[in-house]
Amino acid sequence: MKSVRVGAGLGFYGDSWRPVRASIERGGVRYIASDHLSELTLAILQKDRQRDPAAGYARDGLPMLLELWPLAAKHGVKFILNAGGLNPAGAREAIARAFREKGWKATIATVTGDAVLDRFDELQAAGEALAHMDSGAALATVRDRMLFASAYLGAQPIARALEQGANIVLTCRVADAALSLAPIVHELGWKWDDWDKLALGLTVGHLLECSGQGSGGNFGSAEAWAQIPDYAHLGYPIAEVSEDASALFMKAPGTGGRISFDTLRQQLLYEVHDPHAYFSPDVVLDMGTLKFDDQGNDRVRVVGATGAARPAKLKIVGGYHDGWMGTGMIGFSWPQAYAKCVKASETIRTLVAERGWPVEDMNVEYIGYDSLLGANADPTYRDQLNECFLRMTIRTQDRKVADAYGRLFPWLGLSGPPYVGSMKGVQGAKELLGIWPTLVKRELVESKVDVAVEKV
């Protein structure tokens, strides 16, 4: 029976590619599917591109390939990565230049056509309101502040690149799981309307797209997390997918982490809304029919995926400017560490009020007490904390106010409550972004999708 092994690459922009080496060396993978774009990474890339038109792609794609390509080429392993970001052609140029200098050979494909920011008029003229998917708000309320907008493309253009012999596929925004689904469909010869099989492929892609989170990282639990072996050498998940629509999950021998029913089901439901209708551009997955068979020794077999026909519309995610955040922080030691943080926060509130600054919202948190647990923090020992840090943030439309706000805090060191710590400099204004999810008829986007293949 035909099968193909796909291994997880990065799970976000800035993730480590070190564990990918073990998957290539000892994991038997044919493909690495590497996800460099979280929901708002494109906002970072947009700022890069405004500074330099040749930029706008994820800058960790090239160093990853420089580190791993000789090994990958030796083992015949192909890379599929969405590190193209807003500028796949620019990413290809940077990689091709570096490869030529090294005398390395590769067939590099780019997938483009996701960008819709410049096409809003055309899309609206074609009948798409582009209103906010959840709130129903009109696009006009944010349009002049929109920084980027990309449609999530599916796996088909990636599969076309593979058919044309590419061994590195650089994409723009695609659905994260498409990075895995494409080589699976390509290798196993599945049809693009065999919904149950595509649903299994989507399940695999979803379980691989967050790298170490699919193999024991961030294992959300009390106590059980401490049983995950060897975090330092945690292996990224690998799936061997067979043509009968089953998948065997594993990781490279000798690596840390854990592949089990527990670690996989945590990832399966991660960042999912309705689990009976998990949307992707290629198929809609019902997670309610999946069966997990934990065979022990870091092996889990997954079968039973059911899928419904792909949606008529693609999702677009846009990001728009939504003000500025000012941040101030100061820490205090025992005695009365928490009480001193409260006093400092009241003092800062007074200073902000006296200045009449246009502050829309203020968030007060006590690090060491409630900054992660919020109102569910347990107050039992609040007044006996060894130390506590005050973090106060504001939202304002005025960038100068956000900058000036952070500079209020150092003064407290000499003129506020005693035993301060954390005078480690001032944080400047940080731009805040609102997110704009919306839908568009897929033909309007897919007619612009382009696959270009180039030998280096």
Partner: protein
């Protein structure tokens, strides 16, 4: 008896736009039956009333011994405009594990104590 969820279940959370989402997983089938009965959208909404401004949605998944829970309008508009330390909602699952429910004392994890 009153039992905090961390003693009988595990959980992971994440973000999508202004939604925080949580997977809550029973370690065993008897516990799953209790979670399905006791962990209701209303109870979860009450537990998160300080941060969740929208409705709570919940789907039980018998094949995974899990509940999928979604907190709508819970992230101050989304991770990139949130003022919170936990702007990505990664610790929201930890908050849920502090919720207490009514559970029989003979659940496997409680007997092992």
């Amino acid at each position: 008896m009153r039992v905090p969820l961390w003693k009988i279940a595990h959980a992971r959370s994440g973000d999508k736009a202004d939604r925080a989402d949580i997977g809550l997983f029973a370690w065993d089938a008897p516990t799953y039956a209790v979670l399905k009965r006791e962990v209701t959208p209303a109870r979860v909404k009450e537990h998160f009333k300080a941060m969740c401004e929208g409705p709570v949605e919940l789907w039980p998944l018998d094949n995974l011994l899990a509940l999928k829970i979604v907190l709508n309008r819970a992230l101050q508009g989304g991770a990139a405009r949130s003022l919170r330390m936990d702007n990505l909602g990664k610790a929201v699952a930890a908050q849920l594990l502090r919720m207490e429910i009514e559970a029989p004392a003979d659940l496997p994890r409680l007997k092992a104590e």
